[in-house]
């Protein structure tokens, strides 16, 4: 990838140098040839439409070639190949936190294998950051409240600069780290060493802990959609639209469940905004993803609590008010309606 970008870059350097020298040389030549001493009287020329068309047309042609060339590379830069390994990233003032699907977590250091495609799925816990590895010629902003992604394939083992490229406050210039590219075998050894379970298994724990499995059951009897095999597939919504169940959709459905309701289900899920950390959300996303390709344990249904109230995390006491404040209108509707009316019967 870096090779493609550099090729275009140096073509542009050549183009820019050519035009700069052309203009400078003409100015220099005219300034000497037509200086007052040699050219005491100016010849008035009004212009030339042919010349104007020429120097409008040629640059236009050149920039359109650049446009196509750059867009082709850009497509490669933004479309991760199928089967790329995934690293979840949380940016926060002022550090990078990485979670590998195997379960390894690191701060300001990112270990990746050489020769494998790596897709970064990134979000921010506070302000906007930007994930920038100059050696890989990639950069992508990391935003709060959504996932952005980028990908790369490192070719040569070594240590590479990782910078935050979007100004984020006091220690912006300290929000730096290293990408450590390892031989694939070394990486596999590193990734499997001393881990107490994969990212998806951490997500599975949260799935039980927060009572998700009460409604999102492994059979069709739950009040929420069965999540097995859902990830990566199109989901029909109750307003007739279809969305692909990607990381962003899963995230949104956890934090703002009312935004896009799957067809056939009611808007009854409470929001988990403000109750889950970004790391927990990532675990849940990884778990739902693993449910999608059948590599995770199925959810164990939780027995119905007597109250009919929804189970929430133990720490959620008093957080109802907090989540109320942060909920969107749709989310708020789910908060007030499902709990009380359903408690009546």
């Amino acid at each position: 990838m870096a090779g493609h970008v550099d090729a275009l870059y140096f073509a542009l350097v050549a183009m820019a140098a050519f035009f700069t020298f052309l203009v400078s040389a003409l100015i220099l030549f005219f300034a000497i040839r037509y200086r007052k001493e040699r050219s005491p009287e100016a010849t008035q020329i009004h212009g030339s439409t042919a010349l104007e068309l020429l120097w409008t047309g040629i640059p236009l042609g050149i920039v359109m070639i650049i446009f196509v060339w750059s867009s082709v590379i850009f497509f490669m830069q933004t479309r991760p190949p199928k089967g790329a390994m995934e690293v979840y990233t949380v940016g926060k003032q002022w550090m990078w936190k990485f979670q590998h699907t195997e379960g390894q977590r690191e701060i300001n250091e990112l270990h990746v294998p050489a020769g494998r495609d790596v897709r970064m799925i990134m979000t921010s816990q506070d302000t906007i950051h930007s994930f920038y590895v100059p050696a890989f010629r990639i950069k992508a902003d990391v935003l709060p409240g959504r996932y952005t992604s980028t990908w790369f394939r490192a070719t040569t083992p070594g240590r590479y600069h990782l910078f935050c490229a979007e100004y984020c406050g006091t220690q912006h210039s300290g929000m730096v780290g290293e990408v450590i590219v390892m031989e694939p075998a070394d990486y596999d050894r590193w990734a499997s060493g001393g881990v107490d379970g994969s990212l998806a298994s951490a997500g599975e724990k949260s799935f039980q802990q927060y009572g998700c499995s009460m409604c999102h059951r492994a059979d069709a009897a739950g009040r929420g959609p069965n999540l097995i095999g859902v990830f990566g597939r199109p989901v029909l919504l109750d307003d007739g639209r279809t969305v692909t169940a990607d990381e962003s959709y899963v995230r949104e459905s956890i934090l703002n469940p009312g935004a896009k309701i799957a067809s056939g289900f009611k808007n009854i899920m409470p929001t988990f905004e403000g109750q889950l950390s970004e790391e927990e959300v990532i675990g849940l996303v990884a778990y739902v993803k693993a449910l999608g390709n059948g590599t995770a344990n199925l959810p164990i249904p939780v027995s119905e609590p007597n109250s009919g109230d929804y189970p929430v995390a133990p720490k959620a006491e008093g957080s109802a008010a907090k989540s109320d404040k942060t909920a969107t209108p749709a989310g708020r509707a789910t908060q007030s309606t499902p709990v009380k009316p359903e408690a009546k019967p």
Partner: protein, 546 residues
Amino acid sequence: METASQTIEPKTNYLNADYGVKSWLLTTDHKRIAILYLISITAFFFLGGFFAMLIRLELLTPAGDLVLSDTYNKLFTMHGVVMIFLFLVPSIPAVFGNFLVPMMIGAKDLAFPKLNLASWYIFILGGAFILYSILTGGLDTGWTFYTPYSTTYSNTNVISAAIGVFIAGFSSIFTGLNIIVTVHRMRAPGLTWKRLPLFIWAHYATSVVMVLGTPVLAITIVLVALERLFHFGIFDARLGGDPLLFQHLFWFYSHPAVYIMILPSMGVMSEVIACFSRKRPFGYDFIAMSSVAIAVLGFLVWAHHMYVAGISTYAAMIFSMLTFFVAIPSAVKVFNWTATLYKGSITFQTPMLYAFAFIGLFTIGGLTGVFLGAVAIDLHVTDTYFVVAHFHYVMVGGGVTGFLCALHFWWPKMTGKMYPEAFAKLSAVLVFVGFNLTFFPQFLLGYMGMPRRYHAYPPEFQVLNVLSTAGASILAVGFLMPMIYFAWSLKYGDEAGPNPYHAAGLEWQTASPPTTFNFEETPVVTWEAYNYDEIDRTAKGVEVAG
């Protein structure tokens, strides 16, 4: 045309028509208001330059050792805010637009003289708020005020600075409005649109951008203040807002604002190059129309600041294509200015040296813009020193060079005095050399991957940073010299006479400095702009007769 050779200077002019502070602070004379603007923006320029010097000194070494990181963040923020909102945006339009638009079209004043004075007071009020925010602890959001940092995370004086920018924006809107109405309604008899100097075309296009773009910035700033003060969820994702919405709104103004800063300079170039080549500019129609094209296309490219910000692939591509289109009218201008030199009769006074510098630096600034327009490259170099170098080549290499060019060219008209030519040429050379030494290494730094707004940096970037700081010191001398010799010339400079450069244009047909109402009697225009052949023939006739 005969007035060009008049030698008897009227005893009273706009400078000595009235005395005392009150006569300046309550003036509605566009020329005096231009001087008020000139003094205020020069002060702001040196304030912004002072911040820049501290930034460059900090970056002399890789470690963040001169100032604290918070201080550094405030320095580059305040450098940007002061330079953009208090110097570059008003620079040429509010000083030279104000001074010259009425004179070039044969009018006594702008259409709304009181509004003109009001816009200066509004500018000063906005500047006062920004100064207040600087003096009471500063601002650290970057001049871009990106959310949610500015609305939620910054602990600095965002509100007072935002109010300052909001208020200063109105001065820009009023100046734009004044110029538009003046050009439409107050042209001298016979001065048709196609006889207008290209300076007027450039200012007309600039004014349209000011009037249409600035309100969007004002609204955006209000939204930032609402979210920061009252937690309205507009931009902060945690409040249900969208941080990208801010960037769209902000750049919808701030990209066209780049053209507010560069179009007037382009107008200056068309005047100066024509004068010192003794020629009508090559392709008048194309230069005029390219100003209009830039103003229109300039509104359609804002999201090229956001390729990496999380916009969709296709949106990025569309904005990339539109960005390439906007490069074309600028290229057309450069080619036309170059062609103007062909078969001219060229002399090399200071304004012409600045014009040569402008073409060279602006060409590099424009061409590196093509790099950034190409999304694949932008992904690597955006938010690095490549971008810093690029926009300084446009803003300083284009904007400030254009301002200095205009200041030298019209100083005799404004004050009636000539500046010392040798010192002026020396300063032009220092500016050119210092500028390139400061900013060219930054292209290399950016390509190597040094991010912008970094207080400390990895040691491999040091050599280029040292070069850059060295260049900045030369540049500072180049900027300080004119301060001294212009001030000196007020007392000791040679008398300029009405038209020291034998330039075309109605502003040169009246006394230097002009009288309060500019013209003894309203001129009637029967000739095309840039009638240098006639002027030179007349001058020769006078010589022969003499």
